[in-house]
Amino acid sequence: MISARLRKTYPARPDSASFSLDLEFQATAGVTVLFGPSGSGKTLTLDLIAGFVRPDDGRILLDDDILFDQTARVNLAPQARNCGYVFQNYALFPHMTLRQNLEFAAERRPRLERHRRVNEMLEKFRLVDAAGRRPHEVSGGQRQRCCIARALIGAPKLLLFDEPAQGLDAPLRAEFYEVLRQVRADFKTPTLLVTHSLDECFELGEEMMVVREGRLVQSGTPAAILEQPANVDVARLLGIFNLLPAEIRALDPGRNTSKVQMGEYELDGPYLPGHLKGDRVTVCVRPESLQALERNGKPGANQIPAQLERTVQKPQGMRLEFAGGIAVDLSRNDYDRVRDTKDWVIEFPRESLRVL
């Protein structure tokens, strides 16, 4: 288990604004994903844990080992931290073969054991045929597997991945996900993985930490965070919600109902705990939860009229973008049924209505 309290400040420079990181978290077994936009401090967090950058203050505990403690003046060198690091660009030594890369990582082991361990990893990661070649002579997938094997060969207590699937094409990304699932099953090493891809959070993460401007803004399982983002900022970061300004007009906990005014229309929703009548809120609803229908006279309950601005093809169907920044995702079949519609209404199903 890793437990970290990290503080690091970079003052403003002529070419960059000041940046301050202040994070406190714990991560147990499994894959914990650090999710956030570029420049939010995700990679810096990994660098602080790996010992490449010294925190200004804080404490890093890995199981029973203190890696860093400002108060006790403990600051282990990167060499002594026992964290495997998979770099964004893999950082394989270009002048060494894949086997030599693994041998370099195993050099502190006795010679016979080193030889056995290197061969074992080459086999496990399907690198035997490429072992004698240098990184630039092998495929992207082999480079990637070699980098993970190299990070694991020293039996680290923690694995750190810095945007490992960044820039990979779809087949390579799928291969990487498969390798990582295998690593998780075989090695059971706690893993911190940095990404700004929401797909990756769901594909790989058991736990997820949302980081914004150097602060932890929400943590939990990816499904729980998607179900209820902590605030508008998190919802905006996740990037998959319609976020619409509204006002709460009625709340009835007994009947589990609420009324929310959006523009000139009133929508019915479930009871909204933690809010008061008159609160100005943001309605947060996913595009696939909405329905786009042909208008027949006066809009019905939970329907608002809308002007279609454009349609966008998506891999799973069609996205309809309406005036006012409302997006609705439809399957191709559903879209085919309404494609000739001129006059639209958007229906907000009662149960999908959430506010932040």
């Binding site: 790996a50 060499q79 990582a105």
Partner: protein
């Protein structure tokens, strides 16, 4: 025409020894400048570069003050080796070193800094000591640029004139290097000797610079 080839051999010997010394000291200094942050780093860098911009007479003067028989360093040398340092071929080595070192430090620092930092981080993360990291990762990746710097430093050492003249003098058969010998021959009216030595030293320098160009990593 009788040509004394001693100055050429002496120059080659002086250049070889001073380059070897510059390589050892220069790599260490370059490593420090490329990897460490400390107070006075910029001053150290400027001090190392100084011989490239100061007139040879100033450098010669400094060396004479530092190493003359009545200076502490000069006395120390004499106590250890039994004879003074100035006006010997060893002083010519020091004079050449003064020019070779900054060239080597500047080029080696740039070469070391050009190595991808993530590779060095990866090596540290895999448990490599700074020593092993330097010999197994940084140096192999920077070796072509460093060898090119060595060739440049050697070529520069070969041609030193002013500082050598001031601290090693012009004693034929003992401290007369090829650059000094050319000047001497020209002054004495031995133009054939001067011309021959000029052509030979130019050819050697051309050869070394071609080698340096070949060793420099190809630009992409």
């Amino acid at each position: 025409m009788q040509i004394d080839w001693f100055p050429l051999w002496l120059s080659l010997r002086v250049a070889f020894i001073s380059t070897a010394m510059a390589l050892v000291a220069g790599l260490w200094l370059a490593y420090i400048l490329a990897n460490r942050e400390f107070r006075g780093k910029e001053v150290l860098d400027a001090a190392i570069t100084l011989p490239l911009v100061l007139p040879p007479t100033v450098l010669g003067y400094y060396l004479l003050v530092l190493l003359a028989g009545n200076s502490p360093l000069g006395k120390l040398w004499e106590n250890i080796f039994g004879s003074p340092l100035v006006f010997t071929w060893k002083a010519a080595v020091l004079a050449a070193l003064l020019h070779a070192l900054p060239l080597l430090v500047k080029s080696a620092r740039a070469a070391l800094e050009s190595v991808d930092r993530s590779l060095e981080r990866a090596a540290r993360n895999l448990g490599a000591s700074e020593w092993r990291l330097f010999w197994r990762v940084t140096l192999p990746l920077a070796h072509r640029s460093i060898l090119a710097a060595v060739a440049l430093a050697f070529a520069r050492s070969l041609g030193d004139f002013g500082v050598t003249l001031m601290v090693a003098g012009n004693i034929p058969g003992r401290t007369q290097t090829v650059a000094v010998a050319i000047y001497d021959a020209y002054e004495a009216g031995n133009t054939m000797v001067a011309r021959t030595l000029v052509l030979v030293i130019s050819a050697v320098a051309l050869l070394i610079l071609t080698l340096a160009n070949r060793l420099s990593p190809a630009k992409t």
